[in-house]
């Protein structure tokens, strides 16, 4: 990859990390999510397998009560088990002497299927399960009876 001279000499841009996945839809400011899990991928202008990164998350955009989710050389992390609501992620290059700047925060809004819809669908599932069992068990008992 060709890196602009200014970036190479200043050393600042080389240490800037950005999320490249998931991508925002046009005009959106947050990732809309219905499953509670997200596959985060990030990159820097000068990728190097020896670079150590720090991935952090928080429930607010100010990153109060921030939690470090990963520290290491991977440039990808699968995050799951997110409760409903907004979650903010950021990543940076980490070394003992001089951590790089944080990336722009990525907002993931988790909106699960409505509880009322879940209850309705579960009732439907229960009814189908009962129907399946009744047809098979009832039919089999009748078959046994006929065989005997």
């Amino acid at each position: 990859m060709l890196i602009p001279l200014s970036a190479q000499t200043s050393g600042f841009s080389l240490r800037t990390v950005e999320f490249i996945e998931p991508t925002l839809e046009d005009g959106a400011t947050a990732i809309n999510n219905t499953t509670g899990h997200v596959d985060l991928v990030w990159s820097t202008q000068a990728p190097d397998p020896k670079i150590t990164y720090e991935l952090a998350s928080a429930p607010t955009s100010e990153f109060e009560a921030s939690v470090t989710r990963y520290q290491g050389v991977d440039t990808r992390s699968f995050v799951s088990g997110l409760p409903g609501g907004s979650h903010y992620f950021r990543v940076r290059i980490l070394d003992s002497e001089n951590p790089g700047p944080w990336s722009r925060p990525l907002e993931v809004d988790v909106n699960y299927v409505e509880r009322s819809q879940v209850k309705w669908l579960m009732a439907l599932g229960t009814a189908c399960l009962i129907a399946t069992t009744l047809i098979i068990v009832g039919g089999s008992l009748k078959t046994r009876k006929e065989s005997n």
């Binding site: 991977d74 699968f78 088990g81 699960y112 129907a131 068990v137 039919g139």
Partner: protein, 486 residues
Amino acid sequence: MDSANITLNQGTGWILLAIFSIAWIALGIFWGRKAKDHEGFMLAGRNVGMALGAATAMATWVTSNTIMLAPQFALKMGIWGMLAYSTASFGLFLFAPMAFRIRKLLPKGFTSGDFVRLRYGKAVWVCFLLISIIYSMAWLVSMAMAGGIVLQTLSGIDYIYGMSVILGVCVLYTLFGGLFAVIGTDFVQSLIILIGIVVVGAVVLTKVDLPTVYNDLATTQPALLDVMMPVALLALFNNMFFGFGEVFHNNVWWSRAFAMRGDVSHKAFFLSGCLWFPIPIAAGFIALCAGSMGINVTDIDGVGPLVASQVLGPIGAIVVFVVVFCSLASSIDSLLAATSDLIIQDVYHKMIAPHASDAQLRILGSRIIIGLGIVTWLISLPRLADLNMVLFLSGPLVASAIFPIICGLYWKKANRTGALIAMLLGSAIGLYAYFAIGWFVASLISAAISVLTMLVSSLLAPGKFDWSQLDESKLEEVTAEPIHKS
């Protein structure tokens, strides 16, 4: 902990691959010698006993998806995710009494397509064949992909090489031995899988502290412990109906019902369900420990093998490698054999050449197995989608066949129009739900549409089906016409 530090030595991976490839092919040739005619090749002489029957059903159902998707389910949906995957065993439990009924109604049956053709006629049969072949290809592709992914995750063997070798080995020994080879190798593979899973599960339990795992999940992944997690609750039912659809319709299971002795088939399926039930829970639990052990998951498809190999070290990686290879082989061979039977019997023998000789059918069977292998290889080559997507897209299709199958087996009133509409409408609305709501409701909605259609049609226009029409050996005495037209 980084994902890149955990692979088995690539040379060790190739050695293991070579040893098991040679073993399966040799065993396939050895057992395949028993197949003297086409029926022996297809149905292993219709004389499979309890031990082999239960082992082949269990090993076939422990697919690469069990080893790789069950951990995915746990990591995405927590406790309910593990249980959701285990509900697929309910399909085997309910198929146990169905197997008894199948043997009674179709004593000389060959395929699930035979039943649908004789029970509902040609239009429903064509629709059923389409669904079954699409599903079988999705299952084959997902397993071939899983083979490539897992070998790459564990040993660094390139995806394309790993996928090609596993697929090639399965094609070879299925080709030589038919169902005799499939059932024989399944027996050995089921023993290896069971021992491997018990060993891995026991060692993982000694290496992790359960309260720590719980606390870590509660802190960083709280939704995984939420008993009301919406996606997980829906996945529970969705996976159950997907499993019902897979088992009830697919020729993999029907061919085993025909191959087993009549007095053991129902017991063998029930036992295989009992043996299978805890496996996804054990595999899923391993994935839930990833966070506590500081393992960064970069490839969700390979999370189970990844965590197991990290916890157990190189020896554990070898165990996982062998278990996954066995689970892949035991399912790919079954699917190759059963799908080939479906195409030969239902498409070629019934539609194209009703008077084809035994030798012609046997030669064509071999060609179809090779063809299926090549098509699967070509589709798997680019690794276009994740495993979840490949497999669950076929969920609504197979779920739509649940009620036409079970109502057709037990109700005289079930009619062909209802069965056709149930399959078409269930598939269409289920696929719409897949894209509009999510994969976690698609099979459930498809099954609901299917049951409603069958109930309404049976009430509005009840049929009066004569069960004796399903025994084709009696029909052949009356007419040589291969397609049922009543």
